[in-house]
């Protein structure tokens, strides 16, 4: 299996706080890798390092065989990396279609506008937002905005998709729909690295899971291995509700 993304001892500090400490992992082409951990474990910070928003203090990151440490987000987008934000960031005063066109026009393919519009319409149809295309993005509801985040990322036809809690804030029915959508995205051959708190979903979707706690990678394995891992259970015990949910689902 080809390694699409690899991190080597990535460290990110904020003043005295070590948000990510010596994290090393590999992501293979075509897999879905889950990233879990208690609140404040450094998951989003790790995402921000991978996609160029932060520059790690130590360590290296390789994407498609190239050392991309310290590259700008736009440059990584041109290489085929796309992401969604945990807190949705719609381009509120642009239409839904225009939002998705930005992804298509400035991603790896850098399509001209007319083609970007066609791709945007395809992606919007795929995500069930076709009838909203001419609406301003700011007028969508939360579930639709989440879908829009995903649509923008997909429109760039990425090789790697970083999903930061796309299920958060959705009701159970919407969660099921989104899980199904993510499966179908993977079937298109897109590799996915996803942060998620909805355990049922991440256990179902992921081929492998990484667990972060206080910035450190404490476990790595299949969903079954992770669910039984002592250190993981201990890490979640700080958050009784989550530990309980974990136990119930097992």
């Amino acid at each position: 299996m080809n390694v699409l993304l690899r991190t080597e001892n990535v460290v990110k500090r904020f003043g005295g706080l070590v948000a990510v400490h010596q994290v090393s992992f590999e992501l293979y082409e075509g897999e879905i890798l889950g990233l879990i951990g208690p609140n404040g474990a450094g998951k989003t910070t790790l995402f921000n390092c991978i996609n160029g928003i932060y520059r790690p203090e130590e360590g290296r990151i390789f994407f498609r065989g190239t050392d991309i440490t310290g590259w700008s987000p736009s440059r990584l987008a041109h290489m085929g990396m796309a992401r969604t934000f945990q807190i949705v960031r719609p381009l509120a005063e642009l239409t839904v279609r225009e939002n998705v066109m930005v992804g298509a026009a400035f991603g790896e393919k850098r399509l001209p506008l007319a083609q970007a519009a066609r791709v945007a319409d395809e992606v919007l149809a795929f995500l069930g937002l076709a009838d909203r295309a001419d609406q301003l993005a700011g007028s969508l509801n939360v579930a639709q905005k989440k879908r829009l985040e995903l649509a923008r990322a997909l429109a760039s036809q990425p090789r790697l998709l970083l999903l930061d809690e796309v299920l958060a804030g959705l009701n159970p029915k919407e969660v099921d729909e989104m899980v199904e959508t993510i499966r179908r995205i993977r079937e298109q051959g897109i590799t996915i690295l996803m942060i998620e708190h909805v355990m049922r979903a991440i256990m179902n979707l992921s081929d492998r899971i990484l667990v972060l706690d206080f910035g450190e990678l404490i476990a790595e394995g299949t969903p079954e291995e992770i669910a039984q891992n002592e250190r993981v259970i201990k890490a979640y015990l700080g958050d009784p509700k989550l530990a309980q949910r974990f136990a119930l689902e097992e």
């Binding site: 796309a82 934000f85 719609p90 005063e93 225009e98 026009a105 506008l113 001419d134």
Partner: protein, 321 residues
């Protein structure tokens, strides 16, 4: 939604109406009125590129106007360059200044950027005050012999008017092109959420720098044209901060980020200005009214006239851009 051809035709028609009227009547007074209007339209529409499309509030637009004016004036009056090449150099000098400072100051966002643009204007004024080739605090005056080459002062007034008319039409065409182009989509995405745009692959620093450069080129041309016909230039006239502020008011009044908004905003504002200046009671508080107007717009219709229409009546979106 299919965009109607009216989105381009309407703004061009408005500018043509303003610009052609004096050509038909051949009246000096109409020419002067239209000159003021076209200058306002060109300044507002070019400011809109950075303010409306890119979302960076610049209080320094007039610095490009003044610099373009000085460079062109110097080349014509002191170096004997032909008018057209001096105007072009005025525009290019302004664009170059924007390009150079843009790389630095466009890293700042929001109020910080706005503050620095005021600083740039004041710094330029102070520099010109002490720059002897440009006449220092006294400025430069035109030898009327220069006008002879262009058929005398009256011919110059008409010639510069024609030039301004063409430049204004170009500004409007460029605004339209930006709004419907991929470059423009990049700018709009920066305006809406710069970090998200960067993540989607928009090279934000490159886009911002070129938007700023393009936005500065046109006031450079306009300043060059204006001060040539003005026959004199001095620091106080070349860099008046209130012209920057009035340009912002004009853009906001009509609708930032739209093509026709700044045009209508300029005409509306200039009309109001004339009304105030000719009113005995109000003539001294003209600028205060402009400030109050800006406050009201920002508070109640931040999208401006055209933005409000587009939002309130979605059907207008097809032909109002």
């Amino acid at each position: 939604m299919k965009r109607s051809l009216w989105t381009l035709v309407l703004p061009v028609l408005v500018v043509l109406a303003v610009g052609l009227y004096p050509l038909l009547t051949q009246q000096d007074v109409h020419r002067e009125t239209s000159f003021t209007l076209l200058r306002a339209v060109a300044l507002a529409a070019s400011l809109n590129i950075i303010l409306g499309f890119t979302g960076y509030v610049s209080f320094g637009h007039v610095v490009f106007y003044g610099l373009g004016g000085y460079v062109a004036f110097y080349l014509v009056a002191e170096k004997g360059w032909p008018f057209w090449s001096a105007v072009l150099m005025g525009g290019l000098a302004a664009a170059l200044l924007a390009f150079l400072i843009g790389a630095g100051i466009l890293r700042l966002r929001g109020a910080y950027f706005a503050l620095v643009t005021i600083g740039v204007n004041e710094a330029m004024k102070a520099f010109i005050y002490n720059f002897q080739p440009f006449g220092g605090p006294v400025g430069l005056t035109m030898n009327f012999a220069v006008y002879k080459a262009y058929g005398g002062p009256r011919a110059v007034l008409w010639m510069t008017y024609h030039w301004l008319f063409v430049v204004t039409l170009i500004v409007v065409a460029v605004s339209y092109w930006i709004r419907v182009s991929k470059f423009g989509l990049g700018l709009l995405s920066i305006r809406e959420d710069e970090d998200a745009a960067e993540v989607m692959g928009v090279r934000t620093s490159w886009f911002k720098t070129w938007a700023f450069t393009l936005s500065a080129f046109f006031p450079g041309l306009v300043g060059a044209i204006f001060f040539f016909r003005n026959a004199s230039i001095e620091p106080h006239d070349a860099f008046p901060l209130h012209v920057s502020i009035e340009s912002i008011v004009m853009v906001m009044l009509g609708g930032q980020g739209t093509v026709i908004g700044p045009i209508l905003g300029s005409i509306g504002y200039q009309w109001m200005r004339v009304f105030l200046l000719t009113n005995r009671l109000l003539k001294n508080i003209q600028l205060a009214v402009a400030g109050g107007l800006l406050l009201l717009i920002v508070l109640f219709i931040p999208a401006g006239l055209v933005g409000w229409l587009r939002r309130r009546f979605p059907a207008t979106r097809r032909f109002l851009l």
